[in-house]
Structures are given as structure tokens and as C-alpha cells.
């Protein structure tokens, strides 16, 4: 039998764990965090300013046009939604597979999910021509007949999928945090903290019967989240796959999108975790190099999966014998936006291959750089799918190029402002590692401990 690696280093006691994890929440932030937070917050305020300006003047400020009616907003939406998937994967799917190492990264990964979905969720709402009427997408009784909605539209599926996903992710995340809030409440020295965390903990006490129900619900939510997370990116991929546009109309999209989502999500987890490890050195005992290595293996594997998808698309395009389909793929690689395609291939397929080497898998610097590139590559993947398919479609007369504008850049980078603000805030407000859960695995891999 292979000897298990220790999941928690440094011979921690229960008290140590509680103290270590509560420290960021209970201590006063240091310079580094404050600088980052202010930077992110400024970017977020700028982002909202830009959104306000676009709302006031029209979506035409972005580069969207005829024939490319979807651009940065949808690309970035798919990007963020994809990132969200890693969190659910870690917290739900790995939970079902009894992967104990998930414990120390699950909370933060889930937080990433929630924030990524929040960031992403804004885009489909804002990208419409008249965002103030977005509520028409919900089937609610009305005075128009009533006039309902078109349940055949993938966008409506999106509404249901993304809102369900957001709801379930938040609930799942929150349920996981309830016992920790109780811990924080009990440790709280000042009244306000006591009240706030008391309210958040919902009066959780941790009796054996409660734990019994709790574990059951956690398992159920994990079980429900697993098909949900797969369905969400499947449905997002339906936005494209169900249409009749060459380059979109592909049956491979659901698994391709899900693999890509996990790929990009794990890259983002690596990015964030390397930073968390630097910012909170005590977390190094919980989020060990071993954790990172496992995730890098997943990145490499899913990278190969998207690579397979890219190849398969080309093969099918050729094999279909359809002129439009063939043209789109030739154009994808060699056309105006060929550079995006090759940026995507090198970032997503070629670069992660370095993780075949153990040294690279365990080098924080390498993995940080690779993870950044993977995220760039995955943004380009969505750009390639959305824009290059649209820009040269059926009738050559209506071909066109994306009309890049200043606002496209603002929207893309601004969304990071929003995400990072939320994430940095989270690190200081919520326990970044599940206190209750980590205690159940603290002995894993230790001599004399049981697994």
C-alpha cells in the first residue's frame, strides 16, 4: 500500500488548527493585503463606472457589431463561469470520490466559484441592449396576456442553469461555513463580531444529531452539485452548440466546455493558492506542495483533454464535408484571428505539458506562471469560439471583424477588479479553510493516525 502523504503538516493540535485558520479573520490586515485590496477596489469602482457609462450610452461602445453580435461580454462570461467550475468540482465531485486532500482547498475554491459566478452573472445581464428589462427572461405572471417566455431558447436555459448554479453554490458554500461561523462567534472578543458571526452561524451548536443531518445534507448537496456543475457548462455550451453557426454547431461542445472549465478553474485555484500561501504563511501547513502538485496533474490532464477537443473539431470539420464548416476551421487557424487560435493552443495545450516533470509540478514559480498563461489561453479559447466563428459565417458579404474598443479592455480587466475585491474580502471575513472539516483529516498520513 502506498503511504499516504500527510495532509496537514507540523503536528497541529485542534487548538492550533482553530488558531491558525482564524488568524486572518481575527487579526488586523497588513500592508500587503491592504495594498492589494485598495488596488482591486479601485479597479472595481472603475469597472462599475464603465458599466454605468455603457448602460447610459449603449452596448455599441463595445466592439460588438454585425456580424459579431456577441463579444467581450459573452466571452468573459463564459470565462468566469468556467473558472467557477473548479470550485464545485473540488468541493462536490472530489468529495463524492472521497478525496481527502480536497478539504484544505475546498473552501477557497468554492469561494472562488461563488465570486466567479457573481462576476460572470453580471455579463449576460449587462450585455443585452436593454438591461433594465432583463427581468422579462423570467417566466412570471404578467399583464400582457400573460405573455410567457420561450423555453426553447438556450439563453433561457442559461438563466435557469446559472441562477440555479449560483443558488446551489452559495448554499453549499454557506452550509459548509456554518460550523466555522459558530467557532468564530465563540472566539469573538467584541460584541459586533459576536452578533454578526452569531447571525451567520444560525445558532449552530454541533450536537451529534445535527452533525448527522448536516453530513447527510452535505453529501446530498455534493451529489446534486455534481450533475449541476456538469449541466451548467453543458448548457452554456448549448448557447453555441444549439445554434446553427458553423464553428458553434458541434456535438463535442458539452464535454469540451466542461473539461475546459475545469482546466481554467484549476489554473485559477493555483494562481490564487500560490498567492494565499505567500500572504498567509501559516496556511502552508494546510495547503501543501502536495496539494498543488495534485492540482497540477489535473491541469495537465484537462489540458490534454481540451487539446483532444481542438483536434477532434478539426477532424470532424474535415470529415463532415460541409464547406461552411471546413472554411470556419481553416479560417480559425489561418484567418484574421489566427493569432488568437495559436495563442490559445500554445497556452492551453503546449505549455501545461511541462507538468510532466515532477520538478515543474512542485515549483511554485512555474505553476504560477503556467496557471496565468492557462487563464489567458482559456479566455482566448472562448474568444476564438465566439468571435472567429461569427466573423466569417455563411454569406461572405456579411463577413466582418470585431471592432475592438477601449471599453472591451475595461470590461475584461475591470471584472478582475470585482473578483479580486470579493476574494480578498473573503480572505479576511470568512475562514479560508474549513475549520471543522480539516480537523477530521488532520491525522491522515500521520504515524499513528487513522485515515
Amino acid at each position: 500500500m502506498i503511504k499516504r502523504k500527510q495532509l496537514v503538516l507540523g503536528n497541529k493540535t485542534l487548538v492550533d488548527i482553530t488558531n491558525d485558520i482564524c488568524e486572518p479573520v481575527e487579526s488586523i490586515p497588513k500592508k500587503g493585503w491592504i495594498t492589494l485590496f485598495l488596488g482591486a477596489k479601485t479597479l472595481m469602482i472603475f469597472y462599475f463606472g464603465i458599466i454605468g457609462y455603457i448602460l447610459a450610452n449603449g452596448i455599441g461602445l463595445l466592439g460588438v457589431n454585425h456580424p459579431i453580435a456577441w463579444g467581450t461580454m459573452i466571452v468573459t462570461f463564459v470565462f468566469w463561469i468556467g473558472i467557477g467550475h473548479a470550485g464545485t468540482l473540488i468541493s462536490a465531485i472530489l468529495f463524492l470520490f472521497r478525496q481527502k486532500w480536497r478539504t484544505s482547498v475546498a473552501r477557497t475554491a468554492e469561494a472562488m466559484t461563488v465570486f466567479a459566478v457573481m462576476t460572470a452573472g453580471l455579463f449576460p445581464l449587462l450585455h443585452t441592449g436593454r438591461p433594465w428589462l432583463d427581468f422579462w427572461l423570467f417566466p412570471y405572471p404578467n399583464q400582457r396576456g400573460p405573455l410567457w417566455v420561450n423555453f426553447r431558447s438556450p439563453l433561457l436555459w442559461d438563466v435557469f442553469a446559472v441562477s440555479t448554479y449560483a443558488t446551489v453554490s452559495i448554499v453549499f458554500w454557506y452550509i459548509g461555513m456554518v460550523p466555522d461561523f459558530a467557532t468564530l462567534k465563540d472566539r469573538a472578543k467584541n460584541k459586533i463580531r459576536k452578533i454578526v458571526y452569531g447571525a451567520l452561524s444560525l445558532g449552530w451548536r454541533g450536537t451529534a444529531r445535527n452533525w448527522s443531518h448536516y453530513e447527510m445534507v452535505y453529501l446530498l448537496l455534493a451529489g446534486l452539485s455534481t450533475p449541476l456543475v456538469l449541466s451548467v457548462h453543458t448548457i452554456v455550451s448549448f448557447d453555441f452548440a444549439v445554434s446553427n453557426l458553423p464553428g458553434w454547431h458541434t456535438t463535442i461542445f458539452p464535454p469540451y466546455f466542461v473539461a475546459g472549465a475545469i482546466f481554467s478553474g484549476f489554473a485559477m485555484v493555483i494562481t490564487l493558492m500560490t498567492c494565499v500561501r505567500i500572504g498567509f504563511p501559516k496556511f502552508k501547513d494546510y495547503i501543501t506542495i502536495d496539494h498543488m502538485e495534485v492540482m497540477n496533474k489535473i491541469i495537465m490532464t484537462t489540458g490534454l483533454m481540451v487539446g483532444y477537443a481542438y483536434t477532434s473539431e478539426f477532424f470532424i470539420a474535415w470529415y463532415s464535408g460541409n464547406v461552411y464548416e471546413r472554411y470556419v476551421f481553416v479560417n480559425r487557424a489561418l484567418g484574421t484571428y489566427g493569432w488568437c487560435y495559436w495563442a490559445m493552443v500554445s497556452c492551453n495545450v503546449l505549455l501545461p505539458q511541462i507538468f510532466w516533470f515532477k520538478k515543474a509540478r512542485r515549483s511554485l514559480t512555474t505553476m504560477f506562471i503556467i496557471s496565468i498563461f492557462v487563464n489567458i489561453g482559456m479566455w482566448f479559447e472562448r474568444f476564438v469560439i465566439t468571435v472567429t466563428s461569427l466573423h466569417h459565417d455563411f454569406l461572405p458579404s456579411s463577413w466582418g471583424n470585431y471592432a475592438w474598443s477601449f471599453f472591451d479592455g475595461c470590461i475584461l480587466f475591470g471584472s478582475f477588479g470585482m473578483f479580486l475585491t470579493l476574494f480578498l474580502g473573503y480572505l479576511r471575513v470568512f475562514p479560508a479553510i474549513s475549520i471543522a472539516e480539516i480537523k477530521t483529516v488532520m491525522h491522515v498520513g500521520k504515524d499513528g493516525g487513522h485515515s
Binding site: Y140, P141, N142, Q143, R144, G145, P146, L147
Partner: protein, 168 residues
């Protein structure tokens, strides 16, 4: 328990949208007009046909507000001393018009056609209510889309339910 109650309240609120469609509409709007024209006097008492004044309603999508010259057909002789009629006459002589306050207002994207409804045998009263008895005109129906649709979708009316029937 409270949760269940909350759900019931919320759905009741939403369903009330169907039940009371006049919410947010102008039903019952009866603005004061520059001249207190009395439909009950002209129609109910004096038995003037609607189309005598609204003479284009059978040909046009609009039901026209009569020109001053139409009023003056009678009021050159009738009730010349009443203050409203004096005001009317002054305007007529000066070549000015009376600025009536519009009661029934549809948004610009709705194209309603009076003549099409009249030829199908829809009475004025079906939409305008007992207008012949109104001293001051008020909006009888709420004129919501649901109100239109519910009449159009009755099978006996055999009316089109296309979006383009009203929106183009």
C-alpha cells in the same frame, strides 16, 4: 412555517398581476377638459350618433376628435349662450383649436385600428364602456395588452393573435 407563509404571500403578490391587471394602468382616468363636453347630454339625451362627430372612425385607424367646424354645425344655433359654447365659438372664429386632454393613450409601439374593429361588429361600448352616459369621459378599460389579448383569443371572435397585428 414563516417560510411557507412567505412563499404564499409572494406568489399571491405575483398572481395578483393576473387577477388585477389594471395595476399600473390608467383605468378610470377622467381628466378635466378645457370645455366640459358632456357625452350623456349629446348621445343619451339628444340621440346623436357616435359617427356624426367621430366621422372618420369607420375609415381610419384613428377615431378622430371632431373638428370645431363639426361642433359649429349645431352650435351656431344651439345653446349659444353657454360659457363652454362661447369659448368654442371664440376659438372657432379665431381659427384656433381646442387642446383636449387625451384620455385613451396607447404607447407608440401599439397600432390599434378602430375601423377594423368596427367592421367586425365591435361596439364602441365594448371598449369605451357606457360612454354615452359619461358626463366626463373616463377610461373604462385598462387597455393593457392582456386586456386586448383576452378578447382576441376568444374563439368566437376569430381574431388574429399575431404580434404583428398590433406591433410593427
Amino acid at each position: 412555517m414563516r417560510f411557507v407563509f412567505g412563499v404564499i404571500c409572494l406568489s399571491a403578490l405575483l398572481l395578483s398581476g393576473c387577477k388585477f391587471p389594471s395595476l399600473g394602468y390608467n383605468k378610470g382616468y377622467a381628466p378635466e377638459q378645457p370645455i366640459a363636453f358632456d357625452h350623456s347630454l349629446h348621445v343619451a339625451k339628444n340621440n346623436i350618433q357616435c359617427q356624426y362627430c367621430h366621422n372618420q372612425v369607420e375609415r381610419s385607424k384613428h377615431s378622430n376628435i371632431p373638428a370645431l367646424s363639426t361642433c359649429m354645425n349645431c352650435h351656431l344655433q344651439v345653446a349659444t349662450g353657454k360659457p363652454g359654447i362661447i369659448k368654442l365659438r371664440e376659438a372657432y372664429d379665431k381659427g384656433e383649436s381646442i387642446q383636449w386632454v387625451k384620455v385613451h393613450m396607447l404607447p407608440d409601439h401599439v397600432h390599434f385600428n378602430h375601423s377594423a374593429h368596427l367592421t367586425r361588429g365591435v361596439n364602441c361600448q365594448e371598449c369605451h364602456g357606457p360612454i354615452e352616459k359619461m358626463s366626463r369621459v373616463q377610461q373604462y378599460s385598462d387597455l393593457s395588452m392582456g386586456w386586448c389579448i383576452n378578447c382576441h383569443r376568444k374563439p368566437e371572435n376569430n381574431a388574429p393573435l399575431n404580434c404583428t397585428t398590433c406591433h410593427h
